[in-house]
Symmetry: C2
């Protein structure tokens, strides 16, 4: 990899992970650090493809592992379990993130995280602070990621800072988040040519907390029924993962981006944890979570509470 510092987001990259690596590469180069390269740890999903196609931009190169001592910059994640499999071989130079933290480094580094809805909101501030111009393409990448992470500013993860940044980005990009963002989200919900395995892995995160190992996967949809027609296939794919990774449970959430609800499939020995977590009854392995759209703010915390 030509000895470049590699910049990447989490596994099963979403729009924030892909675009933040590109936007961070640009920032580093503008600040004179030419020796950096945005890469990715997995397939680019359709939502992100919509954005890259709109801008005529290439996907970052896929990497599968790194060499000992490889210098890296992490964006949109900080935990080992969500990063490249041999991250412990890397020298992490910087982390730009907006997630909960579980991070150890036996050396000093640049770590910048803020309690906002999207990594790009942090990156926007870093551009401003360093007096680096945000051009139309960069603004569009930033706007897309915020629209994605906040479901067009409707998720409870949205902060006033995100909203303020979106206003500025709409001006620079000439795009309306409620038009472009919704088109992008809809493009992301097209799963017609995906296998069930691919669907559950569009945005699946592994957690090892409270002495349990589990995944919460999420897929956006504008049509819940079409997903649950194929419930048996998804259950097969989920159970395969549970066995392969020795998971205690697996929550697959189909999030209705129009009505802001999520319908879940919960499987595994500890699947009933969701009943206590959300005050619902599991029926045929499924439950409807009203007004719940955010994995980070609305799904993970009650599940962790219930595991205590």
């Amino acid at each position: 990899m030509e000895n470049k510092v590699l910049i990447f987001g989490h596994q099963n990259p979403d729009t924030d992970s892909i675009t933040s690596s590109i936007v961070m590469e640009n920032l580093e180069k503008k600040l004179g650090n030419e020796n950096v390269k945005a890469v990715r740890l997995g397939n680019v999903n359709k939502e992100t493809k919509f954005v890259l196609n709109f801008l005529g931009m290439e996907e970052p190169e896929l990497i599968e592992n790194i060499e000992d001592g490889q210098e890296v910059i992490l964006v949109d994640h900080n935990e080992n379990t969500q990063s490249i499999s041999n991250l412990s071989n890397a020298k992490i130079l910087k982390v730009i993130d907006h997630h909960t933290m579980n991070f150890v480094a036996p050396y000093q580094l640049y770590y910048r995280a803020e309690p906002v809805g999207c990594t790009q909101t942090v990156l926007y501030k870093m551009y401003k602070e360093n007096d680096v111009e945000i051009d139309k393409n960069i603004a569009t990448l930033m706007l897309s990621a915020i629209a994605s992470d906040t479901l067009v500013l409707k998720s409870p993860t949205t902060t006033d800072e995100d909203r303020k940044v979106v206003k500025k980005l709409e001006e620079i990009s000439g795009l309306d988040i409620n038009v472009f963002g919704v088109d992008m989200l809809k493009a992301g919900t097209d799963i017609s040519d995906y296998t069930p395995e691919q669907v559950i892995n569009i945005d699946s995160k592994l957690f090892e907390q409270a002495n349990k190992k589990f995944r919460i996967a999420q897929v956006n949809t504008a049509d819940l029924d079409s997903i649950f027609k194929k419930q048996a296939y998804f259950e097969q794919a989920i159970n395969d993962d549970i066995e392969k990774e020795n998971l205690d449970f697996y929550v697959f959430a189909a999030t209705d981006i129009i009505n802001s609800n999520s319908k879940i499939i919960s499987l595994g020995n500890d699947a009933p944890v969701v009943e206590k977590a959300f005050g619902v009854s599991i029926d045929n392995n499924t439950a409807m979570l009203e007004n719940i759209v955010s994995r980070k703010k609305q799904m993970l915390p009650p599940i962790l509470d219930s595991l205590k």
Copy 2:
């Protein structure tokens, strides 16, 4: 504590920990967050007293523990073992730091660390980014902490960013770091009225790494001989700590701020680790470490390497 957000540095506070809490309180207030209060976890040392006396400023209030759910901002540290004993009860809102990391938070927060010589270098940038004026008193506090952490820019922990910030701070404060900083360091070396227990606790840090529990304490001096005349007393105090805290070893470093060397006392079952770490022979429990002045950059890393 009137429900205020408490801002504090590490135990056995040094000049950076005390002044950074004051400087961060000022920044928060200037940004409209009136509900914050700088406090401290231990006695103010003579070096820091020199600075506060020079400015006619009060010491922050001492706290010994915090209530469940207390909101806090950590400066100049991030690890549990270096913080208030019941930190796990707190809600950490922000961390401003420049150390190695070992940090877990099951919620989002503001985390800002940079690989520089002093927390105040990070705080200086935060003032600039937020367009908050750095007045003469704040500049003097910042300059003092950088002079302290970098031994007047002579320690290998010093970065170009620290040097750049010092130039600006000299302009604002009207002070020359090589005059004011050296006077401050010398004031800090006066241990004439300290008990041996107090001397070893002036700046002692507990580490739990590589399956070992140990302390590295450091004291600055302009006169190594006067310290080692009392070696037997220091050994007694160190051995008491080893027994009380069940330590595997204890390194006490007297750092000669004029000649940039450190003479150490190494005690405990694993005391010989320093021979391998620094390529020296222990003689009468002591060794001279030539050109070694920085615990973080020059003492801890080789010790950790030798423990592997």
